[in-house]
Symmetry: C2
Subunit: 233 residues, 2 copies
């Protein structure tokens, strides 16, 4: 394999468990207000609005805006569907649930091992402040925050991957995209990046994540510690 100099990471699902984290945050905020609902279903419903909202940006239907802004539009849709009305303070607080997601247990240790050999950055659709808050909460040792807000477009548009490699002064082939989603890796590979698939079998609920990649990838790992072993880090 050609010399890899930097690893860039998908974050939602690959590094952090958005589903149980959002469910927990929703319960923490909404239950004291007297609401009782299926919190995991609420998290799933919110996430279901994620791709359609970004697609409006990708197609030029709406101008680029931070994922926080898309999340807020999506939250309003989901709150209405669940019959919930919130004051502005709680609405904003709930929207920032995505800034408080918890990492899968291997991630912080894995990133710290990988950091000894590679430059590391998130290449997420999440905005910079969201990535900063997740890094502070989970001690992610990033060299830089790259991804959608830097590129001003959303994955899987090629500019998001290519701008991350370019920020590190690298050819795409010197940069490895790490993700738990085949669609993300296929897009990265199509513009020349190396790819590593991470198994996150429980991302969408127990046994409901992707187990094996549906596209050709350079590496498959069970978690980031396994990735570090395979990359001799």
């Amino acid at each position: 394999m050609k010399k890899i100099n930097a690893l860039i990471f998908d974050v939602f699902g690959t590094l952090v468990d958005w589903r149980t984290s959002v469910a927990r945050e929703a319960e923490l905020i909404l239950r004291p207000q007297g609401f009782q609902l299926d919190w995991l279903a609420f998290a799933d419903a919110w996430r279901d609005e994620y791709q359609p909202a970004m697609e409006k940006v990708r197609t030029g239907n709406i101008a680029f805006c931070k994922l926080d802004a898309l999340h807020l539009r999506n939250l309003d849709i989901v709150l209405e569907r669940f019959g919930i009305t919130l004051d502005e303070t709680l609405r904003q607080k709930l929207n920032l649930a995505w800034h408080r997601l918890e990492a899968w247990p291997d991630v912080t240790a894995g990133l710290n091992r990988l950091r000894t050999r590679f430059r590391l950055a998130p290449c997420s659709n999440g905005n910079i402040s969201l990535m900063v808050d997740l890094a502070r909460k989970n001690n992610f040792p990033w060299d830089a925050i790259l991804g959608a807000e830097f590129a001003r477009d959303y994955k899987p548009k090629p500019v998001v991957y290519l701008s991350a490699a370019e920020a590190f002064d690298l050819e795409p082939s010197q940069t490895m995209m790490v993700a738990a989603h085949s669609s993300d890796l296929a897009a990265a590979a199509s513009v020349g990046l190396k790819t590593a698939f991470i198994r996150r079998p429980d991302e969408f609920g127990p046994g409901k994540g992707e187990i094996d990649p549906e596209c050709t990838v350079d590496l498959v790992a069970n978690d980031l510690l396994d990735l570090a072993r395979q990359l001799n880090a």
Copy 2:
């Protein structure tokens, strides 16, 4: 003072001693090739081309490019002036001298104290990879790399300061620009940021740095540890 949430930093001169570092790097690379010259004068001459090169970008005369690319154009000018011809490998290696600058002695400890209370990012004209390399070399604990490459223009253009505040989801007044140069702070203040002046009396040679700000600032500090004390960090 209104609540400050993030500190953004000038880097060349404020955090790192570019002059003696570039002189040292030039000597390390050029002396084994048989060149003998005034290494500090070489560093000064290279730096003298810095503002004119960026001015071409600011005025739209040339498209935005990374500072590394401007440094290389400037290096060629200075090499010719000093009568030096280098092969491509050494020319590129010397150009990356700016990625190997050493911090003033207070900086790493100061940033680590400030980090406990504030989000931190460089807001430099240096490109992202340059900032990443300086952070790795000197253990700067950045939350994100903001500044010229993120804004795609050079300080003191307002977009560079404003895009840094906006990346952190902050009003300009919640963001403090920290620099050893009055011109940088005046530009930041003119678009609403808070400002802290750091004394670096030896930046351009012993006693040749700015001792006191030439514009109104919110704080004046002797170094980053003094800044941390004044900000209760």
